[in-house]
Symmetry: C2
Subunit: 254 residues, 2 copies
């Protein structure tokens, strides 16, 4: 048995999310089906983050165990050939120790959320960004975002379906940057609650629209109550960006 | 009668190109149909550039004459509502003088061509960039590109269907820049021949792969013969970026 670590890029639009579902296609299922086609084996693919329906992956990390002797490069090429026409691509494939786990060994996760701030509907970015019509004050958003950085009880920013043992998390980074009508929000933490990034982005958008002050955001955080949430941003603009591991070399080798 | 100038963004994937065609959908037809739905009028939409099938627009400029009295902002909003679900968006709409012409008044055009330089298939960029598997030496591409800048007979880089009176054009800019596995090639000129950007990009890719030297590119240019072309890049990565007009204020006002 060999454990392979993958770096995966995917377009979340046609999927019900990362995780295998009874009622529709998932990224996990697409990769597991490809592994079966290549090896004849029924492998289970574990990921650093289980993204929701419509959320995308730029460099998701995942792993699976394979019995068949095969070189990482050949496995990657074979999987990419079998994944077509699904919009899922294996960018990197490496052999990792048997105790390396894409989810449990992961010590840092980062997301980017993309907003297009304009009136006109999206064209080639339809489903790949959140269009916000109201002009957003990104400096106010960035400043308010810093209130969320650090150790907090993020109950307000947590989905009712969140399975995390605790709502207390340390947010390492929440940056808002604008380039023309494109806004990118970068978030990094050891781990996130379900819907946390989208909920934080939604509330920052409230600040950017001038409907909330930074103080309103602070009050929402301190309420520790989902009902205090201003807005949950749609999945369209959310991308799982990167996963970090303590042993850097196992995470990057092909 | 009022002449309106539009700035148009579009995803070229579902279209046979900008220009109205008997055998399939076009961006021009989509906008003309929307104008008819809004005004009841049969307007003709003229564009700064008539992009090919699969080529995209970031800020194409166009114009049309409308009899119905309507404010630019209202016309833009109504057109965008009618254009759905086609991936075409009016980003800007302004009243211009009756002799302003999106094509004939245009004094400068720029394109960007996007390459993703990696082995893995594309996911959310499928149809929006050219994937090149071979590692490309972008510095060699940029250096070679400078041989094409200036006044030249671009017959080698011209489609057999090109309707331009002369193959002699002045290329103002051809820059190649890399950011990670993303390569952007910017091209600017008063006007381009049919397929010129894609033909130049294809030959620069030959240089980047090491299959051509800069001297081979110069020889291809000097051959003034379509048969000397190394490679025509696919439409997927090509975006009409911007059109320039002598009277700057007519081109930017909403």
């Amino acid at each position: 048995m060999t454990r392979f670590a993958f770096t995966v890029e995917y377009d979340g639009r046609p999927f019900m999310g990362w995780q295998r579902q009874a009622h529709g296609p998932s990224v996990q299922q697409a990769i597991e089906t490809a592994i079966h086609a290549v090896t004849g084996e029924t492998a289970v693919v574990h990921a650093a983050g289980r993204t929701d329906a419509g959320v995308h992956g730029i460099a998701m990390r995942a792993h699976a165990d394979v019995e068949k002797p095969i070189a990482p490069f050949r496995l990657m090429e074979a999987l990419n050939a079998r994944l077509r026409p699904d919009p899922v691509a294996i960018l990197d494939c490496a052999v990792v120790p048997d105790d390396w786990h894409a989810r449990f060994s992961c010590v840092g996760r980062s997301y980017v959320y993309r907003i297009v701030n304009r009136r006109a509907p999206l064209t080639f970015e339809q489903g790949l960004a959140w269009r916000v019509i109201q002009p957003l004050d990104t400096q106010a958003m960035h400043d308010a975002a810093q209130l969320l950085v650090g150790l907090h009880d993020f109950t307000t920013f947590r989905s009712a379906h969140c399975q995390s043992a605790s709502p207390v998390k340390t947010l390492d980074r929440l940056d808002v940057a604008r380039e023309g009508d494109r806004i990118a929000i970068h978030a990094a933490a050891r781990s996130f609650l379900h819907h946390q990034v989208r909920s934080m982005v939604g509330c920052l958008a409230m600040v950017g629209m001038g409907r909330w002050t930074a103080q309103d955001l602070r009050a929402a955080l301190e309420a520790k109550d989902r009902a205090a949430l201003g807005l949950n941003a749609p999945p369209d603009g959310l991308y799982f960006l990167r996963a970090a591991y303590a042993d850097a070399d196992t995470a990057t080798r092909t």
